[in-house]
């Protein structure tokens, strides 16, 4: 039997953790940009678009991410589109994040008093100017805790990508545990690494909240 040193385990987990980070970043950035576009379309109040966007959000909020991953991977395959696990996981997580983020942010925008919109309207500001200079900055401040909370959820949710064979931290952990017969040690390290990824994000959020309060 081959002996695995602790360093072998940790090193391989760290290598796989890069993919967790890459996947999470992709979901943050892609989901954030798409979520912002969805938010603007909803706040703009275009009538036909509303129903479609509501349906979109309902779809991604109402089905498990796990099932969405399966659908993205196997469904697109059935359609004759050859998708890599990386692409399927990236797309599924991006769409999932965009639906949730647009909904979280819509709540924040709606929390801004109507008088702020009216004051901006009466000063002849355009829709984009109102969002960018009046409502956006105020909504941003209330959005920080819930957005960061969701981002931390997303880091952990990347673990689900392991079910379609994408080798990120959790999948690597499973493979290494099977080879070393030391599941407790391996999964212990896996947990530590997830914590090491999530904790700084939460800490950064606390700092950001404080900064935004000070900067107003």
């Amino acid at each position: 039997m081959i002996e695995f040193s602790l360093w072998d385990i940790v090193r391989n987990l760290l290598l796989a953790a890069r993919w967790t980070v890459a996947l999470a970043l992709m979901a943050f950035v892609g989901g954030g940009v798409l979520g912002l576009l969805l938010l603007m379309a909803r706040v703009a109040g275009l009538r036909g678009v509303q129903t479609i966007l509501k349906g979109y959000v309902q779809l991604f909020q109402g089905t498990p991410l796990l099932v969405q991953l399966f659908l993205a991977f196997f469904g697109l395959g059935l359609l004759g589109v050859d998708v890599s696990q990386w692409l399927a996981a990236g797309v599924a997580l991006t769409l999932y994040a965009s639906a949730f983020l647009s909904e979280i942010w819509r709540g924040c925008v709606e929390a801004i008093p109507k008088g702020q919109w009216e004051a901006a309207d009466s000063l002849a500001l355009s829709f984009m100017q109102k969002l960018r200079h009046v409502v956006g900055p105020q909504a941003l401040r209330i959005a920080v805790p819930s957005t960061v909370g969701f981002l931390v959820q997303m880091i952990k949710a990347t673990a689900l990508a392991s079910v379609i064979g994408f080798i990120e931290l959790t999948k690597a952990g499973t493979m290494i545990a099977n080879a070393t017969f030391q599941p407790f040690v391996v999964y212990g390290w896996v947990a530590l690494m997830y914590f090491a990824l999530c904790w700084p994000v939460t800490a950064w959020s606390r700092k950001l909240e404080k900064d935004l309060r000070r900067g107003r």
Binding site: Q116, E118, L123, A124, H133
Partner: protein, 246 residues
């Protein structure tokens, strides 16, 4: 007057669901005229005011400001019209995330594309005019209600409007702060600004306005110079409204 009317309103109707809140309003306002709109709550006076800058959408009739018709489908035209119509609100509605100076400078910089130094100098002059020269760098939540409302006036003036709408601008203020705001409004009137104000300050309306409009149940019920409206009310509704105030 005719050609010199800055606002013309014809047969304006507005419904909220099944209730008609404006039932055919006709009103012409001459340039430089000061009009006080009085009436019970629910009489439609705030709604009328909010129709004039398009914050409220009317259902029928016509409304013109400075010769431009207000059409709701056309955002560009609506924004062009709003540049000529300033509005001050009961709840001030200052932008809490911006300093006092930034509140005043925001719209001139974004909408009129004024340069930073230019906008800043202008904002300082306006704050001085409302008696708040030293508050340029203060935050809205550090000011009293009366001071906040005066900043709101400076902010509206920064767009150099030709008409100013005042929607119960002293109703949210402590009694001792009302005077400082009204003095600023009075100075605007003296400088020739066209003013339309919905107000509960009857002595102020009497003193400053050229014409008083009494609204009742969605209609202009009685209208005339302040001496006539307050001194010689013709309709029982106005008489009842005035006597209820004392």
């Amino acid at each position: 007057m005719g050609a010199d009317n800055i606002i013309t309103i014809g047969q304006l109707r507005k419904r909220f669901g099944a209730t008609e809140v404006l039932k055919g309003i006709d009103l012409d306002v001459a340039r430089g005229e000061v009009i006080a709109i009085i009436g019970k709550s629910g009489s439609g006076k705030s709604t009328l005011l909010r129709c004039i800058n398009g914050l409220e959408r009317f259902d029928e009739g016509a409304l013109q400001v400075g010769g431009q018709a207000l059409r709701h489908g056309d955002q560009r035209a609506l924004r062009a019209l709003r540049q000529h119509v300033g509005m001050i609100f009961q709840s001030f509605n200052l932008f809490p995330h911006l300093s006092v100076g930034a509140n005043v400078m925001l719209a001139p910089r974004l909408v009129k594309q004024r340069g930073k130094d230019d906008a800043q100098a202008h904002a300082r002059r306006l704050l001085e005019r409302v008696g708040l020269a030293d508050k340029f760098d203060a935050w809205p939540d550090q000011l009293s209600g009366g001071q906040q409302q005066r900043v709101a006036i400076a902010r509206a003036l920064a767009m150099e409007p030709s008409v100013m709408l005042c929607d119960e601008i002293t109703s949210a203020l402590d009694p001792e702060l009302v005077g400082e705001v009204l003095r600023v409004v009075e100075s605007l009137a003296q400088d020739g600004m066209t003013l339309l104000m919905v107000t509960h300050e009857m002595s102020f309306a009497r003193k400053v306005s050229d014409r008083v409009v009494f609204m009742h149940a969605g209609c202009i019920h009685e209208m005339g110079p302040p001496e006539q409206i307050f001194g010689d009310p013709r309709t029982p509704e106005l008489r009842q409204f005035l006597s209820a105030l004392h």
